[in-house]
Symmetry: D3
Subunit: 217 residues, 6 copies
């Protein structure tokens, strides 16, 4: 079975990085795995410098993309798979043809790595897109603001997009999860999403039903 | 001055193709010109075949992108500029460094060539993005449905996006003009847009104030 | 066993396209398959436009090549093989190293896709080159002019080239089959050719002795 | 004005190499110059080894092509132009866009570097194709066999091809000059050819009417 | 005149980054400028993570190289030159052919970016290699250990290499300046080196004789 | 098990070339084999010509690298593996991901193909680096000068480097074996080296303990 896994860029600043990547490696030996990495704090730092140099927003995005590729290279060199980092979806699908794990960062200005992950999940015919992030679940409201926000074990994608549209704060916090490109692609390709905290990767690997399921409806 | 010009794919099925491309060539000799071409009927035909082969939507988009590159190659071979067709924004900006006209088609699934044109306009620091299409203006309602719809000489981008969101039919007709990626990029980069009919390219070249202006506000 | 299959560009305008490609996919699962596609009507249309723009013949050939790659991409995305389209023989043999089906269109101005298919058949050590075209056999004269022209179950390549040289009309009709480059390569590499109508692909797959055999003598 | 110059591979084994390349460099500073180099004895040596390893003819051609690129690299590094060696016509025309001298060797199995030079002359719109070779002129018969063979100051291309077809020995000797692909391309693009001995490059540069002219008729 | 400038990776963590890059931009408008950037703390951080993942040293070097390319991309997007980052010397010299500023990071495991800068200085025929680093001069001993170490206004390269070989501590501190590959290349190509603190770039630009000169003897 | 084999360029001028390559092919069918080829006399010849054209040393190295790639291509086309020649370590490791034999020549000016082989041995995790050269062993002094020089069955790398540093003549003769880059990489990656004469490849293949072992201490 084919899986696409998106690792938040924040993982790469975390003490748990090595443990999580070990779980990812184990996963890559059990399934046909495509991985996408975010840029995290590295991206933010270079974008800030670029902004003080007054680069245009497209160029700032290129710096963010390059940052996500740093993280992708680290993962690619660690996994037993393709030891390069494809720079576009076309390059990704060409390399994917050879049936080895492949790791990508961003592809293009104007989109998140969640969008990239959705495009890859679609092109590889993935059974599921796993979003390994810094929240342990999807909530029905922003848990930082509403103490009694309830975690959702399962949510429809359309519903999730409504929550995001309604509540700007939630949106800001979860934008990284699913942006409009990602939503569009997941819906048209009918791809299930699992949102989980990266530190639950090992439990996921062992078959536990961790995090939330987003159903493409 | 730098300009980005997007040519609708429908132009490439039109009897006026040669005349319009002559105007484009003249323009490329006066300004630093980046050109983006749509896929038009060719894209639609290959996507239909791909759909009957049950290809996934991402692959269908790749067929549409390849169609737009056919049109881009035709224009590139005709202009006195770069004789290749860049396949990503990164490749575009690398080639653009050498100060010659460059022509691109699509870059990636999940986005329109209007999005591509916006990204290019931003990266090249274009003074204006010209959308050469099959309507002679932006209207305040769908002119095919409302006979007294009024053409707008100038419209704010936010206003235009509101019209598009309100009126699904207008949206269907003008989606090609400006999709969400394009809107986002044009807004953040503060790029003016001119919407005109491709058969008015020659008049535009001669300095006439044809079509509509979209102001990035 | 390795096979090279050349699909005429005309197939891609035919109602039988989907059925034929299904047979090709089945074939690719039984044999090591290299596929080459022609440009067909798409090539002719873009070449005509290019000619009215007064492009040189080399550039017109590039448009024809790009058209054949459109068709190649469609097939590549459908087969379970390499999801890119190699642009030169060198790129082809590099990708072929990884033992997956590969699909190419044209490579270079001044040659037909039959020439490309011969080069690929040689480089891959193909047991046979299958030319899937719009005639069901090789004839001893042009069947459109001579009602009693006889189909040839087997013909020597040198003999076929003589027929082509003698009869300009036959030549015009079958030029697509075997051009001088193709003949030269087939002869030197001693590759057997099978000429069949594309609608007989399924019967060929089932082991029937359809079409004509051309023996490299 | 644009010129394409083909240097025989034999030049690269000659004592006059340095002098001739100096003349080529001077020429590249006066005209827009595209250069193509043959493989010469280097190609023959590697092809012989490859044959004793029983490589197929297509692979032997690849060795010949790589040899011609060795010579191309030498010239490219010496001229003040593009410091790479394009590997296909498409790559050539992309690089040529930037208005610098470009040097290529072979492109593809099954064709001579004379064919390559013709394709380049066509694509660059060259005023003339110069074939710098080891004969000082075209003759009306093989001068090695017929002592009173007469040099031809000017000859029509069709006539030259007739001589080559009639006289196998002449053909063997001059095949390097113009093969069928070259003839076809030169004719369709109406490119004049000048055949001269490489040691006359300096005189040609000074405006002398050295060698033979081949008229594309 | 052609100059090669190597910027230490430490610059990219400094508050003076923007000011220094402005001086570099001014320099790039006066001279034909090639720039090489180090990886700095970013490289060290990713190498440390890679080491805890037990990657081999060659892969760790690849992470360091990718880090230096992050910095190179930032500079390339800021300068008015080539907007890509060449990944090998061959790619560098190809792009350099088009007479625009080019920025590179590392090329290959097993060598420092000082080695890269020397190779580029040699290939571009640079009049001088400027090493913009974190020391304001070359000293005759390690100034951190010997308070009365004297700065050297001019030093022969062979002498400098002797100091480095004799004094391991100096070597550790200045290894970044000139490693064995760099020394070998500078010597054979007879390239002068200027060592200066990056914050003196502006003064250098204004013609001051800042830092130390290393003479290739 | 993974092995890296470096073939001296001199092999390619030897009468034993075909026999040796047959042994290499047999080896490639038993082990995961990476091969690196030297440039030999071909490199020397082109470098000499380049020098008379007054090319810089970096460009001369590029000619040497291209020569080594000629030899690499010959081997690649003969083995049943990747039919291209990677031009950098990054390209090498990407292609190596697909678990097929890969052959490289040089990568970059300023280093020997022994350095390349060490980098490849490290990146591929090779159990051993085999240096197939023109001496049958490592000696404790230059055997051409000291008739009673003794062959060493096993030698520590540090010891070997001392011998090389002490005895310039030995160094000149064995420099091809191990240059400073190679020594550094072999030491850090703890790779065993076997030095043998290329004509002993067959015996090595049959499990004989031919040549000398160099231990990375």
């Amino acid at each position: 079975m084919t899986l696409t896994l998106k690792l938040t860029g924040k993982l790469f600043e975390s003490d748990e990085l090595v443990d999580v990547l070990k779980a990812v490696k184990d996963l890559s030996e059990k399934e046909d795995l495509a991985v996408v990495t975010g840029g995290g704090g590295l991206a933010r730092r270079y974008i800030a410098v670029g902004r003080s140099l007054r680069l245009n927003e497209g160029y700032l995005d290129l710096l963010g993309i390059e940052s996500s590729r740093m993280n992708a290279l680290l993962v690619a060199l660690y996994l037993d798979g393709y030891k390069g980092v494809p720079r576009s979806l076309e390059e990704f699908v060409s390399v994917w043809s050879f049936k080895r794990p492949v790791v990508a960062g961003g592809f293009q200005p104007g989109q998140s790595t969640a969008g990239v992950a959705s495009l890859i999940a679609e092109a590889t015919g993935s059974r599921e897109l796993i979003l390994a992030t810094t929240v342990d679940s999807v909530y029905d409201a922003d848990p930082r603001k509403y103490p009694n926000a309830r975690p959702l074990k399962e949510v429809r994608l359309s519903e999730l997009m409504d929550i995001l549209a309604r509540d700007q704060d939630v949106r800001a916090g979860t934008y990284e999860l699913i942006d409009p490109l990602a939503a569009k692609v997941l819906m048209r390709a009918k791809i299930r999403v699992r949102v989980l905290h990266y530190r639950d990767m090992r439990r996921y690997l062992q078959g536990e039903d961790v995090g939330s399921r987003v159903v493409p409806e």
